[in-house]
Symmetry: C3
Subunit: 236 residues, 3 copies
């Protein structure tokens, strides 16, 4: 899942022309879709490359805090996007409320929910992650995102970008791998997940400029994963 | 104030098309305007989007050190830019000399002066900043920039990017906010100024790719400032 | 030497239009040339700007590990690139084998060899670097690259990006400066080499967006090198 953090149209086309087949969907990060000019053209551009578009979860949180959740959903439908993210990375949201929002949204659009706080200092115990993720999938989320931010320094990661591996282990013990999307913006983080869970692992918050570099990691065509995959890699 | 650190023309157009209304002016960083091909086209491009162009202060310092200050001013006029920056971040310049240069330049162009050293290890006491900034505004500077570099690791900031908040407090006690332009290239630095001084605060050294992300911070549409602004933000 | 880490065609053209005269050659990093769509167009684009293209060394290592070294060379010839990099940054390769590969490749294409490990924890003593580099030049390498990675955190550098200056000194005592290409992706690293060895020093792993900023460092038009070169710099 690509993260579009407010990128111009030529640059998007540029990176999709050389790597579109390696991108599955794109998230219009947080509230960027509200302030970006030419939004309809941007959505049409992703459609041209057959990449479904997701509205970022922070915008859901803003709408919810303003008691405008129905308007949020309506706007997503009007824009013609295929997905919305439901998160509580910043606002306080009762679990029952979050599940109700997921259910409501899932009746209209594909929903990705996100678990984990954007606050570096806030880390809940692994069993909360597991039960939260299970419940969100049960409420209708198509996949659940494990929070990492654009920076890779909160949620799954310590402020130093170091992965909380114990947390990851507990999650994968209880949730099917294909239902999880790991936010992993940094190369070292991406390489870790690929080496640990194989080259089909779902990774998110990938910058447009990292589409090609990430694909080389998946295929063992970069130093970081060469020794893991060289016997099976696509090679030359 | 956007920082153009040597960006190509399509990329500039790309980011202005989706966010030009959030940018007030652009600085052609340090001496990039000397080595960049197609400079006239670049200046015309910013003019097309009605964004005034400023020549970076390090180029003034080079010219001054070479005793070519008049040629520097003449070249800026010939290029058709609207602004020049007068700084002493690298060279030693007597205050009286700096004020004389500001006065001379202000007779021809809009002048932004810059206070603070580019050397991470050089930090003058706050009272020097305050008196220096006052004198530079008195000599004809339209606004005064508080140094932060492209990296956000000197001047206002420690080498770790941490803001010298005591310094900032002393500055705002004595200089009107609208007369100060804070260099704040990093997201955390931008969020701090917005939360502290409101979403109209003048920020500089903003990368082109950060035009949209910064606007979301100003409007409370990103996690970092959502709780500060959600009751008033533009929302959906 | 520019590092193309999987960049789109418009962006490449964009940066070459404003700075092509400051770039001598470009490396298609690691295995990016295998996964990038429109590769022939990319190579043609660099040819249009008369910038020779080099296939990255990690792809050689993948091919070697798969016993496909001849196919690697043939593919490079078929693509019409001018250069290949022979390295052993990730795989184990006997010195005699590496020298044989350099010799074989040099019969068909211009060869750049690379010395140093991509593993941050692996650092051989300086005398190994010196004898290895000498032998690689003797085997037909046109120049030899001192490893730094895209990140500037291994080979020549500690994990903190700090340069191993003792290593550099021993290398330049024995190898002619014009035969060495120092990988130096970070501004501080570039400034160090320029101040130490003059503004014609060969630097590699330069991002496209850093073509103009690096040229300003070479000419003393940026704070980091202004005081070193101001009396001789191109100026305004």
């Amino acid at each position: 899942m690509i993260l579009d953090s407010g990128t111009g149209l030529r640059t998007i086309r540029d990176y999709l022309e050389i790597g579109h087949s390696y991108a599955d969907y794109v998230k219009l990060g947080w509230g960027t879709s509200v302030v970006s000019h030419r939004l309809e053209e941007k959505i049409a551009l992703y459609r041209e490359f057959e990449i479904p578009v997701c509205i970022g979860g922070t915008l859901f949180e803003v709408a919810y805090a303003q008691q405008k959740f129905p308007e949020f959903l309506q706007r997503a439908c009007d824009l013609g996007v295929q997905m919305v993210e439901i998160s509580d990375g910043t606002i306080d949201l009762e679990e029952s409320e979050k599940l109700r929002c997921i259910e409501t949204a899932a009746a209209k659009l594909r929903v990705i929910s996100e678990y984990g706080s954007k606050d570096e200092a806030t880390v809940r115990a692994p069993h909360y992650w597991v039960s939260g993720m299970k419940n969100e999938l049960g409420a209708g989320a198509w996949k659940v995102i494990a929070e990492g931010r654009e920076s890779g320094t909160s949620g799954l990661y310590r402020g130093t970008s170091e992965l909380r591996t114990g947390l990851v282990e507990e999650i994968v013990d209880s949730i099917p791998q294909e239902k999880i999307l790991w936010e992993a913006p940094q190369k070292g983080q991406q390489a870790w997940f690929i080496k640990e869970f194989g080259n089909e692992v779902n990774l998110g918050n990938i910058a447009l400029k990292d589409i090609i570099p990430l694909e080389t990691l998946r295929l063992g065509l970069r130093g970081d994963t060469l020794l893991t995959f060289h016997s099976t890699s696509k090679g030359i």
